[in-house]
């Protein structure tokens, strides 16, 4: 007997590779989206800081804008720097 697979359609869920499930700012799941967004994934990406904490991009940007001086990570209070890995 010979079995030839012409096409295999699988089902997968995508998820962010992060050290937490929920965004520390909006408390929404990373795999979902921030409260201002409608569509997850490409439209509502995550960003990592050098302190290794990560957030929805929209959330942390909003946070940083509300902090005119001393832009810190809301989790560990270190100065916030984007980690462009």
């Amino acid at each position: 007997m010979k079995v030839r697979i012409k096409n295999w359609t699988g089902v997968a869920t995508w998820k962010w590779v992060a050290n937490d499930d929920n965004c520390g700012i909006c408390r929404m799941p990373f795999d979902g989206c921030c409260p201002d967004c409608k569509l997850p994934g490409d439209d509502c990406p995550l960003v990592w800081g050098q302190c290794s904490h990560c957030f929805h991009m929209h959330c942390i940007v909003k946070w940083l804008q509300s902090q005119p001086v001393n832009q810190q990570c809301p989790m560990c209070r270190q100065g916030w720097k984007f980690n462009n890995k």
Binding site: K2, T9, V11, K15, W16, A18
Partner: protein, 761 residues
């Protein structure tokens, strides 16, 4: 001989009826001969002043004659006979004989009249101004006092035959009474003669009227039943009215208008006309009401019947009957377990549509469909059926309603903008309306609103739609989502954007997957060895929970998947894939010694085949261990291949490939249960989901009991309500909570005593 004697003899000569031995028929009255005697008689009674006595004596004699001879003779004709045609003759003869007697009595009365004039006697007989009317009165009274038991049957017979004669549709040239050819038959003549005689005696109405009315009622009823039976697709009112006029009223005219000079008879016919038209409407409406359930089911073909009914209802006062009957019919024909939910829904939708025609105010609809509402609420699959009929082409055609678009009004208290209504066309609500509900709410003609209202919650409806959509997307595995997007847009119009946001993301996932698949295939790093792969990449947060099943795929595929995953990871930074091994669809080509099969199967089934490709014989246990799939489940899946004749169970729990079909024809096990994998939902069932939801409360309950030691059911429910029930779907009633807690008691995680729950020590 004294004066009295002479006067008496004279009297007997003038009025032979005074002599008891006298019989009618033999004495041929000769007016001229008796003229002398008559005047002598008048003179003598004047002198004796006996006019009054003579009159009383005469009346009493007439009454006696009638009572003892004529009426019994008349009634003696009335004997039950089996033969209809004989009945016709019977009645004719009876009337004829009575009429002859009447004529003779009438002759006596005429003479009495003359006598009264001559003697200037003013006394009235029975207060009747006219002595002839007095005779008729006496005749009528005497007849009715001796009423024969069979008389109605005979009269009915007589007129029925005559009516049949009038309304013969198939005229075969033969009279149905005398069985002679029509041109020689004088039955019609006899009939008219009888009516004329009865009319002359003023006996038509008292003797025949009631029977005639009954006969015509029966006749009309039978006629309507005949022409309206099971045909709802044309209107009958006009036809029936015409028929009534041309056949029935015309015939009545023949009976009553024997005398064209009298206008009184037209009045009688006119009254009959009114009475019969009313009866016709009543009868027709009743028949239609009895058929109403079928009429509703056949909507819109039955539209003419409904229109008829709408016209009839205001004229007949039968609305309460209609409501009652329809409710009963719904109950006996619709609301029992033997009817499937889609059928109930179809009937319900048809009822909404057709009752709107009958009663635009919607009151009727509300009363009649109330039980249906309640019943649908008790069925578990209602929402699913509604949703699927909304988005699929089916007999319900709800998709059409969806396109009509209107915002669903779930709450009846929503203020409705009434300014737009034209006050000139405003109609007050019917008197039996309950004032608590606004009429505008009832008047909304939107079927979907009504269906959603069955459950009273948009969320439930939308949730069900989401599950259904997920199922459909995952079982079809086609990226053709155009139709789904269209439905989604339509649903959004009704339910609002926010409610259907999840579904939007789901559809976007499908479109994105298509793009990603293309990208990855072009990726030079990714090599498509011998297994072409594609994937549906979904956003788990937005899809309903998947059914979890464990499955270890074939090693070849695992490497392939790893390749795909890493390609995805490079494409979308910082993201990875979690495969749902048991979901998906596989297109296979299986080459055997004598045949080639092309199939679309589930991943489990494909994996089984891949293993059998490596090794021809497998033990169930071994394979189950390898695939990490319980033996019972695996056996069921193998059953699929057995039914295709590819695998056979050679020994218990040992399966092997069957390369040649022809040699082993008898080995095919036809009766193996084939799993219909299409029907299986990829989503977790509603019950499983619910279980999970309840499980989230468990930690709350444990916390509660730790702090407060023991609690009754109601307190637990109350506290949960205060702290844990958030969001519309996560709610549970007392009953459900009790079931949940009782299960925990059975699992020894709780102790129940004296109505209190507590944690085991």
């Amino acid at each position: 001989m004294n004066d009295y004697q002479i006067a008496w003899n004279l009297m007997k000569k003038v009025f032979p009826i005074l002599d008891d031995s006298f019989t009618f028929g033999q004495a041929t009255d000769d007016g001229s001969l008796l003229k002398n005697e008559f005047y002598q008689c008048v003179e003598s009674s004047k002198t004796l002043n006996s006019g009054r006595i003579v009159q009383d004596l005469l009346v009493s004699k007439i009454e006696q004659r009638l009572r003892n001879e004529m009426v019994p003779e008349f009634w003696s004709y009335f004997k039950r006979s089996e033969n209809d045609n004989k009945g016709f003759k019977q009645f004719y003869n009876a009337v004829k004989s009575l009429y002859d007697c009447f004529k003779q009595l009438d002759h006596v009365i005429t003479k009495l009249d003359m006598f009264k004039q001559a003697t200037q006697l003013g006394d009235l007989i029975y207060n009747e101004n006219n002595t002839h009317d007095a005779l008729k009165l006496i005749l009528k009274a005497t007849l009715l006092s001796q009423l024969n038991l069979e008389y109605q049957v005979v009269v009915m017979n007589f007129y029925e035959t005559a009516l049949k004669m009038e309304d013969t549709e198939e005229d075969d040239g033969q009279c149905i009474i005398c069985l002679q050819e029509s041109k020689h038959c004088n039955c019609l003549h006899l009939f008219q003669e009888t009516n004329r005689k009865l009319g002359d005696m003023s006996l038509l109405e008292p003797l025949v009227g009631q029977t005639l009315t009954n006969l015509i009622y029966t006749y009309i009823h039978a006629h309507i039943q005949k022409i309206c039976k099971d045909s709802f697709d044309s209107s009958f009112i006009v036809i029936l009215e015409k028929w009534l006029q041309t056949v029935v009223i015309n015939w009545l005219r023949k009976i009553y208008c024997y005398d064209t000079s009298s206008s009184n008879n037209e009045v009688v016919v006119g009254m009959f006309d009114k009475k019969l038209t009313n009866y016709l409407y009543n009868c027709y409406t009743k028949i239609r009401i009895d058929q109403l359930f079928n009429i509703i089911i056949e909507y819109p073909e039955s539209l003419p019947a409904l229109e008829d009914l709408r016209l009839c209802l205001p004229r007949t006062e039968l609305k309460p009957l209609l409501t009652k009957k329809l409710q009963k019919a719904m109950e006996t024909r619709l609301l029992h377990p033997g009817v499937s939910t889609p059928d109930v829904l179809t009937a319900y939708v048809a009822a909404i549509r057709s009752l709107r025609i009958l009663d635009p105010t919607g009151l009727l609809l509300e009363t009649v469909t109330q039980p249906v509402h309640q019943y649908l609420r008790s069925r578990e699959d209602t929402v699913r059926c509604v949703v699927s009929s909304l988005t699929e082409e089916g007999p319900n055609d709800l998709a059409e309603e969806l396109i009509r678009g209107e915002i669903v009004q779930v709450d009846e208290n929503t203020p409705v903008d009434e300014d737009g209504e034209n006050w000139e066309t405003w109609v007050p609500d019917p008197i039996d309306t309950s004032p608590s509900k606004s009429s505008a709410y009832r008047r909304t003609s939107d079927i979907i609103s009504m269906l959603v209202n069955v459950y009273g919650s948009k969320e439930l409806f939308v949730n069900e739609y989401r599950t259904l959509l997920a199922d459909r997307l995952l079982t079809q595995y086609s990226c053709d989502t155009e139709k789904e997007i269209r439905y989604l847009e339509l649903l959004k119009l009704r339910f609002g954007d926010s409610q259907l946001h999840y579904c939007e993301v789901m559809l976007k996932d499908i479109a994105d997957s298509k793009r990603i698949n293309q990208h990855i295939k072009q990726d030079p790093e990714y090599s498509e060895s011998d297994i072409p792969m594609s994937a549906m990449i979904v956003s788990a947060q937005f899809w309903p929970p998947f059914k979890e099943e464990k499955l270890e795929l074939h090693a070849r595929l695992v490497t392939q998947m790893e390749g795909y995953t890493s390609a995805f990871e490079t494409l979308k930074g910082s993201r990875t894939l979690c495969w749902k091994n048991h979901l998906g669809v596989v297109d296979l080509e299986i080459e055997l010694a004598d045949r080639t099969l092309n199939l679309s199967v589930s991943p489990v089934q494909a994996t089984i085949m891949m293993h059998f490709q490596d090794k021809n014989v497998w033990e169930l246990q071994e394979l189950s261990k390898l695939m990490q799939c319980p033996p019972t489940v695996l056996r069921r899946k193998i059953g699929f291949w057995q039914s295709h004749g590819i695998l056979v169970e050679t020994k218990p729990d040992v399966f092997c490939i069957q390369e040649d079909l022809e040699n082993k024809d008898n080995n095919i096990q036809e009766d193996i249960f084939v799993e219909d994998y299409e029907s299986e939902s990829a989503m977790a069932s509603a019950q499983d989901q619910r279980e999970e939801e309840l499980q989230t409360f468990w930690s709350y309950i444990v916390g509660m009991l730790m702090n407060l030691d023991t609690l009754p059911l109601e307190r637990i429910h109350q506290m949960l309500k205060m702290f844990a029930f958030q969001g519309p779907t996560i709610e549970c009633n007392l009953q459900e909570l009790k079931v949940f807690l009782d299960r925990k008691v059975r699992e020894h995680q709780l102790i129940y005593s004296n109505g209190y729950y507590k944690l085991p020590k």
